[in-house]
Symmetry: C2
Subunit: 175 residues, 2 copies
């Protein structure tokens, strides 16, 4: 029997932070060095008075529609989809305008997946698969399977989880 695997979207296969940083530069003329983002989410890195602005970006219709795909994600997910029962699970509900954008983005970049494999939820606590790949450990709180923390600047200080550094690394570990 095939094992099931849940794969997150934002900061795992999709890059919303690159776009948020570009918009932030457009609006405030400031970029962030890797040091300034080390151990922080982008929202944590901006001044307190700009946090609502980041939320506004994420709430903009279309924001999630044209995000960059993480390197090698297409190729590796295509292979994972042969070996596992693969699901894309995204905590998208906080940004309802993202729902259709995320659906369309997945259809465009991962045409080998079907709508049956997409799950857009609020809270991932009711999702149970054999394996989960996610960049946020809060999504592992109730998870009973094998969790892989997808490496990102915001989670560098977190310990106690096996990491996936990038999709090439995922291929080594899971294929």
């Amino acid at each position: 029997m095939q094992l099931s695997i849940a794969i997150d979207m934002d900061e795992t296969i999709a890059d919303p932070i690159k776009k948020a940083r570009e918009w932030y530069y457009r609006d405030y003329g400031k970029t962030f060095t890797p040091e300034e983002l080390h151990g922080k989410t982008f929202t944590e890195a901006v001044p307190p008075e700009h946090k609502d602005k980041i939320k506004e970006y994420l709430n903009t219709p279309g924001f999630f529609r044209d995000l960059d795909v993480f390197p090698d994600a297409k190729e590796v997910l295509k292979e994972l989809n042969q070996k596992y029962k693969l699901y894309i699970v995204s905590a998208a509900m906080e940004f309802p305008d993202s729902l259709r954008d995320k659906y369309d983005w997945l259809q465009e970049h991962f045409p080998f997946l079907t709508w049956k494999q997409f799950c857009l939820c609020g809270d991932k606590s009711i999702v149970q698969t054999d394996i989960m790949i996610d960049d946020l450990i809060r999504n592992f709180t109730f998870f009973k399977g094998k969790a892989y923390l997808y490496h990102g600047h915001h989670n560098v200080h977190i310990e106690g989880y096996e990491r996936i550094l990038n999709w090439e690394d995922a291929a080594k570990k899971l294929l």
Copy 2:
């Protein structure tokens, strides 16, 4: 610890069939008697050449936005939400235009729920809660908790599941 409960939308708390029947009457001038729908989904009840038309209805933006709420669902879900960790889980992904409509419909009629409690998926096989209420037994295939079949004209012949006849009955069984 609170038990978790997953509650379906269509034909459990929302009435898409009433609307589909109205649209069908508008387009073809035909209504269906309870006998004609007994043991059948609405799509199964219409002539083969009209099945795509029903799919077209469900794919129409706005179709799911103003559906009737099932009797007593608001009141009973409000109480269930006090007693359980409640999630609304809908296999909505087949109709991507329904995603935002369903979110807005839930916000309108169930304002005591938050977006964290909404889960719009393709296939419910990765959803695990202690209890699930659904009108389609295919959603119970991989489910390990206690399943309640929400009674409907299309599932009258199905045996082997404890039924919930309506939301008053749910209150008796679960509150």
